[in-house]
Amino acid sequence: MKTKKKTGLLATLWQYRVAYVYIAPFFILFAVFNLFPMISGFILSFFRWDGLGPMHFINIENYVNLFKDVLFWKALRNTLFIGIIAHIPILLGGLVLAYILNSKLVKGQNIFKTIYFMPMVTSSVAITIIFQNLFGYNYGLINWVVQLLGEDAVNWLGGDGSLIKVAVIIMFAWKWIGWNMVIYLAGMQGISSDIYEAAEIDGATHAKIVFHILIPLLKPIILFTLIQSTIGMFNLFTEPFVLTGSNWGGGTNNGGLTLMMYLLNKAPQGGTAYGYASAVAYVITVMIVVISLILNKVTEDN
């Protein structure tokens, strides 16, 4: 019986060997390089380990402590706030830009597209220094403009910590708007231009075309970018970290503390709480999966 099953499986594998061989590299590399670290990470989340000494099994204490930690909730709130606000320009702006540049309304589309995509090409090391400089309190370009307008200099990255989020949102949106625009543009190539023309002849406004024709047709793409953005939101780290001067607390009143910063502060970058950090990573994973499922459901229903 057993052997028969096995030959059955082998037979299937053999029959569809081409397909399996083609998709094998991903699964093999994934199993070798990702699965093992991921499973070890999951096991580690039930231990207390400083990376150097012995490991101590502590059951779900890491998870319990995590949910009791006020900083975790602050980090979650900040992440959601920054993520949601930043994604309004990233998604909506990306869509509108893609629509304009896809239409024949303006000339020089490629130049604009290239310029909007340029932030993706740059190494973040230099760019973060420049943004730090732009938002600087005493010497910053933005405060210079503010002062020219007769206002007091704004302590963007200090103060009571609330403006750090604004700076992070601006920097984050600056970087990602072009990426989303490109993905939407790619999606729009698949939509025949006849649709636009027909709609325009019918006298539909651009807003109508966007909302009634484009968005429904682009739904899978929008869902895809939403999920990508969700992942991006939970991975938000470099921008707030650099802008707050490498402060692991995220600056005054933890204004710029994000979940990824919270995680990395535990380990491996800021501290050595490997077990705890693994627990945080798995909580983040669950949140991403749940949000993705909800997004999936919502876009299906409409």
Partner: protein
């Protein structure tokens, strides 16, 4: 603060009014918006170029200097003294090109298989593949590093190239493109001609996928070119540094020569930018090839 907001509001109102009164006004306001956004996008780059011609004390002076200065030669001297930029450029090229080529190969056959073949477990496997995109890699960084050191891949480019070269995003992207652009009839015809599946892919399908190759290639190239976290752990010798590591190594608690650092950043990014601008039509056509649609 208020004055700033007022100006923004006023500008918005003017544009809206302008766009409502006349079609030409509409066009003008459209251009104004596009150019304004473009300027915002370009500002940090402009500042980077400007700073690379200033001394550190000029960079941090008030009011800020927003025009090119005299310190370019000095910065260049300091940069050459401090770091080996050509070497890092070469390292970045080696890592990025080999990574991108492998990604294109593995992801295209994977995405193609998920798109055109029917085989048991296809949907489940694809769901797993998408699911893997959601797990933050940070969770397993220590076990990952242990593995790399067991393989002897510390201080070796392989650690940056091999593990991610068949990635879920790429397979997803290629599958979407294949879904719409691979003509089944052509495959059938080729099969009847007695071509093996392998030949069909390389002779018939691969050329059709060119736009998708271009877009996926550019995206992966850009990501790998800027990769930092893993490189930091793996490449610990100066002569192996990629550009992001090199730039980071110029920043020091002791005091950073920002002029030289900005010049190095400019040198690192300029070739890419020039390529992008010169071939913007080709790149954008490739980048926006109708790869994703249902």
């Amino acid at each position: 603060m208020k004055a700033l907001l007022l100006i923004f509001a006023a500008a918005a109102v003017i544009l809206i009014v302008l766009s409502m009164v006349h079609p030409v006004g509409k066009k003008i306001s459209l251009y104004v918006i596009l150019i304004a956004i473009a300027l915002v996008m370009l500002l940090p780059f402009y500042m980077m170029f400007v700073m690379s011609t200033l001394s550190t004390s000029e960079i941090y002076s008030f009011p800020p200097l927003i025009w090119f200065g005299q310190n370019l030669v000095e910065n260049f001297k300091n940069m050459v003294e401090a770091v080996n930029l050509p070497r890092a450029f070469l390292n970045s090229c080696i890592v990025t090109f080999s990574y991108t080529i492998l990604v294109l190969f593995f992801c295209s056959i994977g995405g193609y298989a998920f798109s055109v073949y029917d085989f048991p477990g296809k949907n489940q496997l694809f769901a797993i593949l998408l699911g893997t995109m959601m797990i933050p890699a940070t969770a397993g960084i220590i076990p990952w590093f242990i593995m790399m050191s067991k393989f002897g891949w510390v201080n070796n480019f392989k650690a940056l190239i091999i593990p991610g070269c068949a990635n879920a995003f790429g397979i997803f992207w290629m599958r979407q493109y294949c879904q719409n652009n691979v003509p089944r009839a052509l495959m059938e015809a080729a099969r009847i001609d007695g071509c093996s599946e392998w030949t069909i892919f390389f002779r018939v399908i691969a050329p059709i996928l060119t736009p998708a190759y271009a877009s996926l290639g550019i995206m992966n190239f850009v990501n790998q070119w800027n990769e930092f976290t893993q490189s930091l752990l793996i490449l610990r010798k100066q002569r192996l540094f990629t550009l992001p590591l090199l730039l980071r190594s110029m920043v020091s608690d002791r005091g950073t020569d920002y002029g030289a650092m900005m010049l190095a950043s400019t040198c690192a990014v300029l070739p890419l930018l020039i390529c992008f601008l010169c071939a913007s039509k080709f790149f954008m056509d490739g980048l926006t090839a109708g790869a994703v649609k249902e």
